[in-house]
Symmetry: C2
Subunit: 242 residues, 2 copies
Amino acid sequence: MTYCLGMNLDAGMVFVSDSRTNAGVDNIGKFEKMRVYARSGDRMLVTLSAGNLSVTQNVLSLIEQRARAGGANSVWHVDSMYDVACLIGEAMREIQRRDGDYMRKNNIDASASFVLGGQIQGEPPRLFMVYTEGNFIESSHDTSFFQIGEVKYGKPILDRVLVPGTPLDDAVKCALISFDSTMRSNISVGPPLDVLVYRKDSFSIELQKRLEEGDPYLILIRQQWGEGLRRVFSGLSGPEWA
Amino acid sequence: MTYCLGMNLDAGMVFVSDSRTNAGVDNIGKFEKMRVYARSGDRMLVTLSAGNLSVTQNVLSLIEQRARAGGANSVWHVDSMYDVACLIGEAMREIQRRDGDYMRKNNIDASASFVLGGQIQGEPPRLFMVYTEGNFIESSHDTSFFQIGEVKYGKPILDRVLVPGTPLDDAVKCALISFDSTMRSNISVGPPLDVLVYRKDSFSIELQKRLEEGDPYLILIRQQWGEGLRRVFSGLSGPEWA
């Protein structure tokens, strides 16, 4: 399984992804799910991927092959994040056309999705989610984050804490708590976690870090959060009727 | 959607269910998903149901028709919770045989599930989960709760707080927090909530209560929990590297 999270906030963007893949619980591997395309002063793009690993890898290979070829339809040349989302959607359709039916014939789930975020000169930062079918949606002020993969366990904390005005360091904390809840409830989501922070209009990466299993900060906030929750829980009023 | 939760703890059992059903977000109804079969001093059984409403209602109608008929294969006559789980599994298979193919032909999801819990004289309290296919599993000391329906949003709090030794009033609080998280993140789960508390070896219902929308206690713990979480979140150490 996979969990990936992208946020588009007033101050900038935060991306976090786990690194676990599995084909059954007895076949667990590590694959980085975050790709970064950054050209200082011009553009900073991040993709996060979930779903069938052969599909997402093939989509990214096409994207990268075309980026290297340097044609107009490359992530280095298009003028907007919207156009980048279109490129990913088209590559997704190409792979689904080529491989999808062969997989479905053997009851293999060919679904896959991407979170795409970043900023290109001349635009504000933008965040997209691209579906298996190649269509996509964009975040808005009301919905400042997208999740893909195992999304539910980690959503309540985002719903409660995250607002567009959340500062980037708080957003990182919130994202890591969201991952902690997910990793506790689904063992097929796990570290290392890749974290990337982008400050609006900087056109360079503010922070990119890999948190390994046993990372001291992950352990610290897991412990503080767990203890804090239990403390809040103990302090809740009981029902008079119970 | 639906969310139902049953707990089997050292002190007894707690059951909570929501009351919302939907066939699309524009067609939301209220149906109680908790049924109780209690005969003081002899047995106390609770079923919670999720999934296709026609399937779960039909299964329960068969169970109740047979209970009224008074034969040996009735929930009032069998000697163990295991036998009650078998009765539900058999009724599930009967309905699936009769209706399942007709539904699947029209791409209607015929899946359904039950949580069954309670105690019959001569046994400890037992908790089961019955699947669409009529097979079932039983809870153990390691797994002291079962959820059906929209299970993920409300699971982290259970994973963090609930242990077999949790007192019944704390277990009720924990269940309601779990429901609150679920209702915040999925609007198709909603009040009224039905709550039932059973104390081990009492063979009578300790508490049965319906919490309506706007119930003062629901509002109170929602507020205390939300504020508490945000307070714990603010108090978390920031990452030195961010």
